[in-house]
Subunit: 160 residues, 6 copies
């Protein structure tokens, strides 16, 4: 762990960190979020999923597309060329959806922010799709589960 | 509260809801998120804030700009013309930052998603700025605090 | 019908036409496209649609989102705030999908380009989803079916 | 040709295919579209082209810029860094313009979608520029003419 | 003239100013820039303009499109719906091009930033098109010529 | 120096130049702009900068983000993956701010346009933040200071 914020220069001014000389390596990141909702809301989502309802499909798409726009959303992120993105939404108990986003890259910077952004936007999209039914939903526990590759090496979050 | 998801037609297919005939009224929304971190990380943010460090300024900006892009991030949101956005970040205890985002509009649709998106992206930006120091940070409790205006009227979240 | 191209000034130079003084009225447009493919490809799309396959859901979403970006794609289009978008994909015989896009607005300009862009991008997305299986697909007959509202009044394409 | 849609996982859920381990090779694609219009409309375009009219210049530009945005328009396309784009518009008989778009890349994925998107958006832009004069124009036969590079090798469409 | 920066709150923190209660009025702005270059470069631009060269057409388009993106480029600008944009480029002596950008809107905020952004990006595009020939070009005197509408009323820059 | 505009083909038509076969090398560019203003305006900026005012922080951010969007703003620029961006704003006498933007890349094309765009947009953002106080500000002398890397080699502007 560093002793200073790498996105700030020695006078505290924001910059896009120079990674020109970093190695191009394979990198992955896995982030997770949880959308807590009324059990009835979850039942409605799962129920309409049976025939061909679009709630989870829309959220998956929104997450994948947001991963590709991370460089535009998070001001100091580097532009990069993701080589793979997966977003999954699964029921977590009877009152929550769990969102898992996984990103891959061969490049000079990690893809944690891409995975976190994908999970967050997929969760926000679930909120949007269901808000007419349940305005008190809450998005919880957005966190990095694991990352591999790069100089800082592997990170795996300890079980809470 | 509705009995069905307004973003889906009667066959479960996604659409951008027709609001052509809704009234143009003043609408506001206030959303909140929390970034939990190690006390030492928070101390570093607050400390570097003294001279002219940019962490909180960058996060505020990222939140404001994300609010303007909500229509592009959340697939079924309507494009709209926000008339005001404020994002504030304050310490919340010794191990968290609280993010408050407030959006305003005179228009045909609510601005909850804009406020939630602003709060989420400001929180993600804090994560990005500090991740070299504290990779285990977590974004918590993204929720709508209050909304006013529109047919569904006022919403105020009850204290948990 | 005009005698000159409204997007060009009297010296042939491109401009974004001044609509400041046009009336704000309700406007609609309906555009259509067709994706012709091998019968086997269509069968695969329809077949995987049964459980919860995403081909048509992804194409619908792509069309809706593209409608919102028309001002950015078509250089002289005005920015506008769509108040409703629907994209439908249906089998058309045994070797084609028909794409129907409908857009609505209360504003100063028509929404033909938005509907045509939605239909085109939904069709391109079908191509993308299926190209590993059938690279010879073709997008046909992108045209305006109908428009209402605005000074030029109603347009309805005659049956071919 | 594959037996399944590569953009869907084995449960039919959309994903951005993992190309991390694909080779970086030179790739090209050539796509074509046709804008059919009244002979008088084509005559107006060609006529105003003589001095310095902008119709074809605007369409060329729109096509080139759209190629660069394909990753944002087509939900499961990978972001990539095009190394060359050309868009040409030529009269095709007395009632049509032919649009040819060619894209190049050194990368891990093909550029068919970029070429198809460039041709489509250039054609839509012609429609936009001329719609005040001829609303019944139609965009036809958007198809891939040829591609080279990549694992699936060369593709060349047979003459119809 | 104000005594404080309206984009900052009383603690110096950035915000998007609340214009919810401002009147919707017609507003215009006219901005100008100058691209100074070697006389030979200007001669090449004007010379290739004769048949159907695209330098000035590309710059015009780039300026018009940039005006539409001002809300995304300038962090605290409001999103707005321009109702007209014109960009003109004319020789200014034998060693410069003058860029004039004019924007119009019926809305709650002025369009100065849109006109200034259009003029700047058109000028940058001239630089891009000609840089292989003349890398020492310089963009000068980007300024607001005139604005009308809104509470602050008319502004007209005095002759220098 | 070339004898022709590389962005135009031999008939004067715009294209995105083919760089597929260029070498991937390290490239840098440094561009500069100046915002001239009333001495009182500069004093206000510097004064509010002491505690934690956001004017310069917002301008820095806007410049960095604009560098990442250059491919979208300047029509014939190639998409590329910047590996580092820095934007600095310093007082220049008592009536101006000097903006310095530096960009880095390992790639096939130069980054002059990225540095020039960053400097221009940072300067425009200063204008936006201060326009309520001083509408007669002017952006001056946007130019390339230096570039390194690439076939055309090093460029360093001579002192004026």
């Amino acid at each position: 762990m560093n002793d200073s914020f790498s996105h700030l220069d020695d006078q505290g001014r924001a910059r896009m960190v120079d990674v020109t000389d970093k190695d191009t390596t394979a990198r992955t990141a896995h982030a997770r979020a949880r959308v807590r909702m009324a059990p009835r809301t979850l039942a409605m989502i799962l129920d309409q999923e049976h025939p061909k309802g679009d709630v989870l499909a829309v959220a998956r798409l929104a997450g994948i597309q947001a991963a590709k726009k991370t460089w535009d959303l998070i001001p100091l992120c580097h532009p990069l060329m993701l080589s793979g993105v997966e977003v999954q939404l699964e029921p977590d108990g009877d009152d929550a959806l769990r969102v898992d986003a996984r990103c891959k890259l061969k490049g000079r910077t990690g893809v944690e922010m891409e995975a976190l952004t994908a999970a967050s936007v997929a969760a926000l999209t679930v909120y949007d799709m269901c808000k007419a039914v349940d305005r008190a939903m809450e998005i919880e526990h957005i966190h990095l589960v694991e990352k591999t590759g790069g100089r800082s090496g592997e990170f795996r979050r300890e079980a809470p």
